[in-house]
């Protein structure tokens, strides 16, 4: 059953010029244990879309006009909250940052949940293991001594040192693109390392040694095999593999 919707009004084209419309087919990997049992299956939907539409808009059309049971997370719709990481045409992307016209709408677009976390329903996965790893690396500023009365000073260069890794929105696109994470889900994963990096290289922080110790774990940074899937997947453009390499080097310097 391929369902088709042709909604009249473009959801987002509004004021910005005349936008041509086209049809796209979404091939969604569905998993609805309560309704159809514990078997995942593919379902195709065809919707009409417009030039500025994102994949999220197409998913909304499916949910709102064709089948309300299609389930996914989303919130901000412009790539800053990290809710809607999913596997789009085989790669981890945010649905709200993928324009349909860039996805080659001639062929069905395959959409699957991110890999390596337990699937709850359709595109929704259980994020707990992901956040658990995040919490483990002590993702907060650690200082000793008395609080200063005014702000702690930090030069622009010191601030720049960890700028890249402050951008993380905890979307899990990186961790669930990592072939090592898929194997047994025990690896801390790139997102946790990125967030450790953010503090290890913050000149105000004094907890670097503890964090390095945590990541020196059997399931820590050493499991990374530099496959770069994480860097490729990060919607914030963070150089994840580079950050991981910097953490590894910091550990080696410390050990020798």
């Amino acid at each position: 059953m391929a369902t088709t919707a042709t909604t009249d009004a473009p959801e987002t084209s509004g004021a910005f010029g005349a936008v041509p419309s086209f049809d796209v087919t979404l091939r969604i990997r569905r998993f609805t244990p309560e309704l159809t049992g514990a078997e995942a299956y593919w379902e195709e939907f065809t919707v009409t879309a417009y030039g500025t539409d994102r994949l999220l808009d197409a998913l909304h059309k499916v949910k709102w006009d064709l089948d309300g049971s299609v389930t996914f997370r989303r919130s901000c719709a412009h790539g800053v909250c990290g809710s809607d990481a999913m596997r789009i045409n085989g790669k981890n992307r945010l649905a709200c940052k993928s324009l349909l016209k860039d996805l080659n709408p001639d062929k069905p677009i395959t959409i699957e949940p991110i890999k390596g976390l337990p699937v709850i329903k359709d595109l929704v996965v259980d994020m707990d293991p992901f956040f658990a790893s995040f919490r483990e690396i002590m993702p907060f500023l650690i200082t000793t001594g008395n609080e200063p009365t005014k702000e702690r000073l930090q030069s622009s260069a010191q601030r720049e040192r960890f700028d890249d890794t402050t951008k993380c929105i905890l979307c899990a696109a990186c961790t669930t693109s990592c072939p090592v994470f898929w194997t047994d889900g025990q690896y801390f994963g790139p997102a946790a390392i990125v967030n450790a990096h953010r503090f290890i290289f913050d000149s105000r922080d004094e907890g670097a040694a503890q964090r390095l110790e945590i990541l020196n774990d059997k399931e820590g940074v050493w499991r990374c095999r530099t496959t770069f899937n994480c860097t490729e997947a990060c919607p914030r453009g963070i150089e994840v593999t580079k950050a991981i390499a910097e953490v590894k080097r910091a550990m080696i310097t410390r050990a020798f």
């Binding site: 059953m1 391929a2 091939r27 998993f31 244990p33 514990a38 078997e39 995942a40 299956y41 593919w42 379902e43 195709e44 337990p118 699937v119 709850i120 259980d126 707990d128 293991p129 658990a132 790893s133 483990e136 090592v180 194997t183 047994d184 025990q186 110790e213 945590i214 020196n216 774990d217 059997k218 399931e219 820590g220 050493w222 499991r223 590894k248 550990m251 080696i252 050990a255």
Partner: protein, 154 residues
């Protein structure tokens, strides 16, 4: 629709708190990681030299026979070369395969069996190889002279 149906793993209770498998901290993984790189760098030299001498220089693979090997190992330089190569490559390779086993063998039992097999293979091969290199006699008594390196007859 339903172009295809594939099995999905059952979902654990989504409310159950997640627990990481108990793990170890410490520098072991760090050292092996560094070792992989250091040994890799050295192995490039050793293996390329080895391959060149054995397969490219002279008459290539056709030339390899007892005489050729014996000729090389009569020289302590090649003895040392091959010994270092054997050890480095075996440790490097064994550790590499260990990582792979860790990655893919999820069940603890399977993991254990595979690793035991791996370490056993390592010990056997390294011991055997080392013994052969050191206890090797290039001119075994009673062997037909045409099979031996030329210096045996002198």
């Amino acid at each position: 629709m339903s172009a295809q149906t594939q099995g999905a793993a059952a979902i654990a209770d989504p409310g159950a708190p997640y627990r990481r498998r108990r793990t170890t901290r410490g520098n072991f993984e760090l050292y092996t990681w560094v070792f992989m790189r250091a040994s890799g760098a050295i192995l490039v030299l050793l293996i390329f030299g080895h391959l060149f001498v054995n397969l490219v220089a002279g008459e290539g693979i056709k030339a390899i026979d007892f005489g050729f090997v014996a000729g090389k190992w009569a020289n302590p330089f090649w003895q040392g070369w091959d010994l270092v190569m054997l050890w480095l490559a075996m440790i490097h390779g064994t550790n590499g395969v260990r990582t792979i086993v860790n990655d893919y063998a999820e069940r603890d039992g399977l993991r254990l069996v595979l690793k035991l097999a791996l370490y056993a293979a390592f010990i056997v091969v390294v011991t055997l190889g080392t013994l052969v290199i050191f206890t090797f006699d290039p001119c075994p008594a009673g062997a037909p002279a045409d099979l031996l390196p030329s210096f045996c007859s002198t």
